[in-house]
Amino acid sequence: MRIVKVLCVFAVLLALGTVAIAEGGQVLLNAAGATFPYPMYSKWFDVYRQSHPNVQINYQSIGSGGGIRQLIDKTVDFGASDGPMTDDQLKQASVPILHFPTVLGADVPSYNLKGVTAELNFTPEALAGIFLGKITKWNDPALVSANPGVNLPKDDIVVVHRSDGSGTTYIFTDYLSKISPEWNTKVGKATSVNWPVGLGGKGNEGVAGLVEQTPGAMGYIELIYAVQNHIAYGKVKNQAGVFVKADLASVSAAAAAVAKTMPADFRVSITDPAGNKAAYPIASFTWLLIPSKFTDATKRETVKDFLKWMMTDGQSYCEALSYAKLPKDVVTKEMKAIASIQ
């Protein structure tokens, strides 16, 4: 009968698809989390697979919030986040979670102003004002005074933020909370906040997409997304009073102070660092969230091997993607911490 025949066809198709890509001998790891380091991780997992053909690490960029949640639910083998897990979240996980910094990146204030070719300067007050919804036009005095000689249009500022739970948001709101008491009380810092204004994009990809397509838009995205998509981004005034643009040097400078005093669990914030003239104020480590206990020995060994590779060979791929390498002291500490994965 026809139905039976059709069903047989489907069963055959299914069998083919299933068998043709048989599991045998492969180590398959699933991970999910931050979009901030996604270009880096997708490159790393691709390169690692080429040198270790039987290892396939499938990373899905769903946002740091998603990474944390899926890790707690144990639907992925490890997670990734640029906002460190809070104590509450750590309690929800059934095994202790270890944070392993991977690279250093930066949140940049990107914007879409086709008529303006100069690089814009943003003061902390201006950034807070824009995202609080108080500064609504590009030619607001706060922006004009920081950018003498630049012809800013009187268009509306279209604020773009994240619609999903995001470590990039955490980094940005962490910074805003430090430099703006009003932001601290009104909104706070977290992976997902109650934004006063703006459009929501999903992932760094979504925000970059919206900024790219919407004239007058302004959003915070990781440096590489602005670079890869040729989106203009501005300088930010750091605590020492210098307008700094995000790049490898300024991001590394931001981490320099903390490299020696890194806490044992590696959860640290490097936004708005004091004293360093060259430091970029909205930089951050990003972490892989690794469970400290694995039931599957093969998976555990693969993860440990990957972490070692990541901290040595892997670091050579960072700078091409505009992520700064980990400071040497941090790497030494991390290598020791790998031993605590059981």
């Binding site: 944390i68 279209v158 994009g201």
Partner: protein, 329 residues
């Protein structure tokens, strides 16, 4: 069915042996059982679905109660959740979609049922059904790359210039927002309105039309004053059906609505719908209260579509003879 006690059964001819168990579980009974189990599986799945929605949203229901529906904040940090922005967004986009789709659909249905030659009517209805088969994400794709720029650069400024005195059409024009989402939804639900309305119009008996024409009415008068009112219950049914569809649409809306859980008077502003917030935030809701608040939203959506679909089918069945055959798959 009844098998006569002494009838010859195929087994008698086949020559296979029969055990007494076979009398209790004859082949027909087995078939009955198997098919009944299949049907019961459907019931089981649905009951499980409702149960899961109910149970997993318990924490949120207990904490917020009815105030969930009137709270405007959606704050994962402080754990304060309210459904109002999402219900608002869902209803507003659906309303916009209906305002556009119902005249288009009913108008088109009138043309296809009353005026067009039979072959053209069949062909065009076929094309309309194909439109209904286009996946949501394709509409989203076109929405993002085609509609949003047009809305931002042409349509919204034009509306602002002409109707800007209304609070509906004020504010900055992003291209993304309630209006764009409503328009995309409209295109998606027109085929449902058109197809069902056409069927109910065709079901109105010929003599109604002829009586009107016999009294000297023009074709339009006969249609509008006699045929359409006779079919109006079914047309309302099609509207409810289309609305139920619009409420549940996820992908196309998520891609163009702006993902901002705020209530605003202007149609140009970004918003959020229930389905969109579920798609965006479900996989990352940390904390049980957050997750259960999202599932409560899912429960609300389920109930809304349940009621609307039920009403729709009731109305459509009332007007056509072959009720269930009318609905597009």
């Amino acid at each position: 069915m009844a098998t006569t006690p002494n009838a010859a059964t195929p087994e008698d001819f086949a020559g296979s042996s029969r055990t007494s168990l076979r009398h209790t579980f004859g082949a027909d009974e087995v078939a009955h059982l198997i098919t009944m189990i299949a049907a019961a599986t459907l019931l089981l799945i649905t009951v499980l679905l409702v149960y899961q929605l109910w149970v997993l949203s318990a924490e949120s229901r207990a904490k917020f109660g009815w105030s969930f529906f009137v709270t405007q904040t959606w704050d994962p940090v402080s754990g304060d959740f309210g459904a109002l922005p999402f219900v608002y967004g869902t209803l507003v986009t659906s309303a916009i979609a209906l305002v556009i789709a119902v005249p288009l659909g009913v108008g088109g249905a009138i043309f296809l049922a009353e005026l067009a030659p039979p072959k053209i009517s069949s062909y065009l209805t076929f094309v309309s059904d194909l439109l209904a088969a286009v996946p949501s994400v394709i509409y989203g794709l076109l929405g993002v790359f085609l509609l949003v720029p047009i809305m931002r650069t042409t349509v919204q400024p034009a509306l602002k210039a002409t109707l800007g005195f209304l609070p509906l059409f004020q504010g900055p024009s992003y291209g993304i927002g309630f209006l764009t989402a409503g328009i995309v939804l409209a295109i998606m639900i027109v085929p449902f309105v058109l197809s069902v309305s056409r069927e109910v119009l065709m079901a109105v008996p010929r003599d109604q039309r002829e009586a009107a024409l016999g009294l000297g009415a023009t074709k339009w008068e006969s249609t509008w004053k006699v045929v359409v009112p006779a079919a109006r219950i079914g047309i309302f049914g099609s509207v409810f059906l289309a609305m139920a569809r619009a409420l549940g649409e996820t992908m196309a809306v998520t891609m163009v609505i702006g993902n901002n859980p705020k209530i605003a008077a202007s149609l140009f502003s970004p918003g959020y719908s229930i389905a969109s917030v579920l798609a965006n935030e479900f996989s990352e809701a940390t904390g049980n209260l957050y997750l259960s608040a999202l599932i409560e939203l899912g429960l609300v959506l389920f109930l809304l579509t349940f009621i609307l679909n039920g009403l729709a089918r009731l109305l459509i069945v009332l007007t056509t003879s072959r009720g269930s055959g009318v609905l597009p798959s």
